[in-house]
């Protein structure tokens, strides 16, 4: 199927919608009060609505980080497309990575409704000013990593995005609803890869366990720093841009994943992991936040390689984009000339 049918500049949502419906005689305080009242009332904010500048910039930051993560996330998984061990797996992996490109495109378009260009956002990524999910700075070393990424990373993304689907900004919430459907599919496929390996040959089972061991802790970190180290959380929660704290999301992911690991006979690499009968949740061992911050600051195993791959693609594609632009403007001129 033709997944992300897009218009010429990639975005369905028209930039013309980015206009502020701003009643002339009101002060900023009045507007702000009205905005906070709408938020408190559970209303959805749309591109044409007035919004505080800080709400706009926070959303641009979150949405663009999310879009960048989809795009950079294509690299570790794309690393195995050419080595997928069966034709069916090759096609599902190719389709999955293609879905992630579609997600990136869709969220970039959502961010554009806030009055910023995709080109500018891409520039922020390539110059290293913008962040993307820390998880994609880890290497994919065996085929089992493809299964574990679907299971853990798409799984953690679903936990996060299910909540974001109720975010206050309409275009973001709608994007999450649509994207989550595909992420669920990715998670199912990833888990199925791992289940197949786990009941396969001893070498396959060892490959699966090794991948689980390497990806478990980075996947927990992916849900973000602990609430005590997350300064924006309170404001973002009030605006319903975030709906749950990082620690709540992390606990939910762990509680969902532990029984899934047990079902396929794989062990999660945490000796402290055990069900707490009082909370009916799993207690878990300490997370190595030093590692997390090192990766976020650019010192993970693959940060440089990932950014370089994106820069190379951008640089090598420059002449292609210029050609498309030059051709389009020639066509436009031809269409306008009366001789045509």
């Amino acid at each position: 199927m033709w997944r992300a049918a897009v218009t010429k500049n990639g975005c369905r949502q028209s930039r013309e919608k980015v206009m502020e419906k701003q009643p002339a005689a009101t002060t900023d305080e009045d507007l702000n009060a009205a905005f906070e009242a709408r938020i408190a009332n559970g209303e959805t904010i749309e591109p044409k609505d007035w919004m505080p500048e800080r709400y706009r910039t926070q959303l641009i930051r979150m949405m663009s980080q999310h879009a960048h993560s989809e795009i950079v996330g294509m690299l570790p998984e794309g690393n195995w497309i050419t080595r997928a061990p069966s034709l069916r797996r090759k096609m599902t992996l190719l389709a999955k990575v293609q879905d992630e490109a579609g997600h990136g495109l869709y969220i970039y378009c959502g961010a554009e409704t806030l009055g910023i260009d995709r080109a500018e956002l891409v520039d922020q990524l390539l110059s290293g000013r913008a962040k993307y999910s820390s998880i994609f700075n880890y290497p994919t070393l065996t085929w089992a990593d493809i299964g574990v990424i679907g299971w853990f990373v798409d799984g953690a993304a679903i936990v996060n995005q299910t909540v974001l689907a109720k975010a206050s900004y309409g275009p973001y919430a709608r994007a999450m609803i649509r994207i989550c459907k595909e992420e669920n599919f990715h998670k199912k496929q990833g888990y199925e890869i791992i289940a197949t390996l786990a009941r396969g040959t001893p070498a396959q089972k060892a490959m699966a366990q090794d991948a689980v061991n390497r990806w478990w802790w980075p996947s927990l970190m992916m849900l973000g720093p602990s609430d005590t180290d997350s300064p924006n959380t309170a404001e973002l929660m009030r605006w319903r841009v975030k709906r749950k704290t990082n620690d709540e999301l992390r606990q939910r992911f762990i509680d969902l994943t532990v029984p899934q690991a047990e079902a396929v006979g794989l062990t999660l690499p945490d000796p402290d992991l055990k069900l707490n009968p009082e909370t009916n949740s799993y207690d878990f061992g300490p997370i190595d936040w030093e590692e997390f911050w090192a990766v976020v600051k650019g010192n993970g195993p693959c940060n440089r390689e990932r950014l370089q791959a994106r820069r190379d693609a951008h640089e090598n594609g420059r002449w292609v984009r210029e050609a498309a632009e030059a051709y389009a403007s020639k066509q436009q001129r031809a269409a306008q000339s009366p001789a045509a």
């Binding site: 033709w2 497309i81 050419t82 096609m91 197949t196």
Partner: protein, 283 residues
């Protein structure tokens, strides 16, 4: 000058490529009434699409623009999907219990029957797109004939593939025109790609014993008759691209006999490594 159907025009666009595979049945011997060369014929069709699909998939995550990452992945998916159906059928025809995966992952380069043009490294975007265009137009005409052919199952696979290739031709021809009639740099790159690739195109239209037997049985197309149709479409698009058709030169080829360029071995080493490291494993 003969008339050509405007296969590159928007009017011929299908509803879009489809990645869905029909249900594959296990490879079991079927009635041995098919002509002996049907098996190698199917391998040739399948390998062209598998190898080219693989080459396209190398772009995934590295394309010049996000929309093209998506488009190329789509086309790669279609091609690998077509190859899967063809290899499955080939396994049944052969009757030795080889599945589509056994044929894809456990044959050596000398047993691959694809054309040289599809195995060449992906090059720059101009090279990838010009190669794709030259093959798409060929594939369009081959599948158009195959879907009317005497082998019912093959005709069915071809009919499904034909719908997909209509979109592929449109995509690649539009990009050839954009590059040819874009900037000086894109024009030069597209012309160079065309000049480099041209010597690999005659192999498409030179029938071997397999093609001749298939044509006699009404299963396969008359390749020599397809050549002028291919020429017509290519010439028309090159005209709009302001690109110069190279003169026909000495033919390079041999892929249909398992004689390949140096590039195929490296590609297969990568493609097959996981499957071959775990023989007998299920994935």
């Amino acid at each position: 000058m003969r008339e050509t159907r405007p296969i590159t025009s928007a009017a011929s666009r299908s509803s879009g490529p489809s990645n869905e595979l029909g249900p594959l049945t296990p490879s079991s011997p079927i009635a041995p009434s098919s002509p002996p060369k049907l098996f190698p014929f199917l391998l040739g069709l399948a390998d062209d699409r598998l190898v080219l699909g693989h080459r396209l998939s190398e772009w995934c995550g590295h394309g010049p623009i996000l929309e093209e990452d998506i488009a190329l992945a789509n086309i790669a998916l279609d091609l690998v999907g077509q190859a899967t159906l063809l290899l499955n059928l080939a396994g049944k025809i052969e009757g030795k219990g080889r599945s589509e995966d056994a044929l894809a992952y456990f044959r050596d380069g000398g047993e691959f029957r694809n054309l040289h043009i599809v195995e060449l490294p992906k090059g720059d975007y101009a090279y990838t797109i010009v190669r794709q265009f030259l093959f798409d137009v060929y594939s369009y005409h081959v599948l158009e004939q195959l879907q009317k052919g005497a082998h019912r199952e093959l005709a069915g696979i071809a009919a499904k593939g034909f719908k997909e290739v209509r979109y592929h031709v449109r995509h690649s021809s539009e990009w050839v025109v954009r590059m040819g009639d874009g900037t000086d740099e894109s024009h030069a790159r597209a012309q160079k790609a065309l000049d480099d690739l041209w010597r690999f195109t005659p192999e498409m239209f030179r029938p071997d014993a397999v093609d001749i037997e298939m044509q006699e049985h009404g299963i396969g197309p008359d390749l020599t008759a397809l050549k002028p149709q291919w020429d017509g479409v290519v010439r028309e698009v090159m005209g709009r691209s302001t690109l110069v058709m190279p003169a026909d030169s000495y033919m390079i080829g041999g892929g249909r006999n398992g004689k390949h360029t140096e590039f195929l071995g490296h590609m297969l080493a990568e493609m097959q490594i996981v499957a071959r490291s775990h023989p007998g494993a299920e994935w």
